[in-house]
Amino acid sequence: MPNEIAMEPRLARSGADVVIRIEGITKRYVMGATTVHALKGIDLLIRRNEYLAVMGPSGSGKSTLMNMLGCLDTPTSGRYEFNGQDVANMEDDELAAIRNREIGFVFQTFNLLPRSTSLQNVELPLVYAGVPASERRHRAAEALFRVGLMDRLHHKPNELSGGQRQRVAIARALVNRPSIILADEPTGNLDSQTGREIMTLFENLHEGGNTIIVVTHEEAIARHARRVVRLRDGKIESDHATAHL
């Protein structure tokens, strides 16, 4: 890496600001005789309160990268520092703890527990964090308030619209005050109007100080972000600021 030495002083200066720092990340999937190179050496630096969109054609490795960033998976090679901690070689349970404390996930398919209420769904990360029940309820209700679902606390997912479900999922991602929110095609299952509402919500969260990474296919969605990273074939094709509206 030719510019690595040059980068070091700058990083040291603003190190406290860096949430994610990955260098030369690769991911290979071995399927019998064939090997899929999903990521072929990615470097990325993400600072606090950035709002980043990841774009790229289908199969370019966006989800693979997000899984890596979200500590759901470990890279085949490369370095990954999350808030200064080396996470590339962590054990399952250590990664679980990082995910619980530092990362909020928003999925395309919402992934709410079907038989639990909004409140119970949002409480779940706090259960795993060992927060007492009363504080849990309080914080879950607060998170649901922030996504505008104060009047749907005791609804189950099948009693909610798609947009409302995604709001519950966002509240769940927020509730443990993570360092970063990762959303893989959060509007993929929503109509464009509801999608815009969700993006407005992300906008507000960003203005409230959150760090957000969104994977999307749609330019219109990506325009909400301040920075766009384009992947192609497992590599970063471009990485620049958007002409934010």
Binding site: L72, A96, N100, R115, L124, P125, V127, Y128, A129
Partner: protein, 417 residues
């Protein structure tokens, strides 16, 4: 630690939800556990019942009494040998008491003759055949149960003088006299009239074989006058001073009775000394058989049940793969997931155990009300054992699928369709 408790509570909540949401499936899977628990409690109760029934029966015989008789109680090897033994005579009891009296520090207290026979007993038009008629003395009060519901037991002058009086068991009284008061009435044993002077308290039956409530006791002298004393039911009952020294007492009695019989050292015993303890050993195979059968049924049912639960847990893990992925993404550790599915399996088993216990309890109450004399007992210990078995079944059947769930890769679990 605190987190563990919260996770636990959350797992229990989810487990309850799952069971409720899949009621039919849950019920079908716990069938095996239900059967297993019913079987194990039934077996336990039956064994305990036999034990208590046995103890109750044994106390009727007295645990500090030895019986000198022609036949041993436990099945012996040579019928003809016993058959040809000399009769146990009433006079032998007196001679035995002399030997006891002349033995310093004897471990034996007293020998009481109790010859017995089977006779037909009649009163007015009612008739009972094969009633156990026993002749004895007032000393019998020292070795057997002589409590009377009405009237009294034989007194000394009666037993010596041979008046024709009798004390009758409760069943005899009810069958012959119905609602009438038997006291003072005269019944016939064979063709001799006997006046009823007492009715025994209910005593129960000995292992369901011999009912103490259908016996008639008459004075020895009277018995000797009208009945054959040397019948095979004849016995001399010997009270032992200290029940902790039964073995020594039995040896002493053997020597004493050999002296009474005038046996030479090289001659074998021509009598048997019986004690209630002998029955205990004959009962062991029955209990062991019950235990083996019960354990076999229990084991089989639990095995089938465990397989079922394992299967259902596998299905549940597969159905909820995405949920597992989501939970892992939200920070659930391996042991959290493991615990969640284990708790579900255990909860299903505990439910089965509880239902099994309720069923078994219902069965016992039914049996107890239909056959009040049948000695069955439902113990807290059995409840405890049943619940422990349920938990262990749950853990052993849920572990493999739960382990599988906990080891799922979060990315793959989330991608699962």
């Amino acid at each position: 630690m605190r987190r563990l408790i919260y996770e636990w509570a959350e797992s229990c909540r989810i487990a309850a939800q799952q069971i409720a949401a899949n009621r039919t499936r849950s019920f079908l899977t716990i069938l095996g556990v239900i059967i297993g628990i019913v079987a194990v409690t039934l077996m336990g109760t039956a064994i305990r019942g036999i034990d208590t029934g046995f103890d109750r029966s044994m106390s009727l015989l007295g645990d500090d009494v030895l019986y000198v008789e022609q036949w041993p109680w436990t099945p012996g090897e040579d019928f003809w040998l016993y058959r040809n033994r000399p009769d146990i005579k009433v006079a032998d009891a007196g001679r035995l008491n002399e030997v006891i009296a002349s033995t310093p520090n004897s471990r034996l207290r007293l020998a009481v003759p109790a010859p017995a026979t089977m006779e037909t007993v009649t009163y007015a038009k009612r008739q009972l055949s094969n009633v156990y008629i026993m002749g004895t003395t007032s000393d019998y009060a020292l070795i057997g149960i002589t409590d009377c519901r009405s009237g009294r037991f034989l007194n000394e002058p009666e037993s010596r003088g041979g008046r024709n009086v009798c004390v009758i068991g409760l069943d005899v009284a009810e069958n012959l006299f119905g609602a009438d008061d038997p006291l003072g009435k005269t019944l016939k044993i064979g063709n001799q009239g006997y006046q009823v002077i007492g009715v025994f308290e209910r005593q129960g039956s000995f292992l369901g074989l011999f009912s103490f409530d259908s016996q008639v006791v008459i004075p020895l002298a009277s018995y000797a006058k009208y009945f054959k004393t040397g019948s095979e039911n004849a016995s001399i009952r010997v009270k032992v001073k200290d029940r902790r020294q039964m073995d020594e007492a039995r040896e002493e009695l053997r020597g004493a009775f050999r002296r009474v019989r005038g046996l030479l050292p090289e001659q074998a015993d021509n009598f048997a000394i019986n004690e209630q303890q002998a029955f205990r050993s004959t009962l062991e195979p029955v209990k062991a058989g019950l235990a083996i059968a019960g354990l076999f049924i229990t084991g089989l049912a639990l095995f089938v049940g465990a397989i079922g639960i394992m299967n259902v847990t596998f299905v549940s893990v597969r159905e909820r793969t995405r949920e597992i992925g989501t939970r892992k993404a939200l920070g659930a550790r391996r042991r959290t997931i493991l615990m969640q599915f284990l708790i579900e399996a255990v909860a299903v088993c505990l439910l089965g155990g509880a239902i099994g216990l309720v069923l078994a309890f219902g069965l016992f109450t039914l049996v107890a009300s239909l056959f009040p004399s049948f000695p069955i007992q439902f113990s807290p210990f059995l409840v405890f054992v049943a619940l422990i078995i349920s938990v262990l079944t749950g853990i052993s059947s849920g572990f493999v699928p739960a382990w599988q769930a906990s080891s799922l890769n979060p990315v793959e679990a989330l991608r699962y369709e």
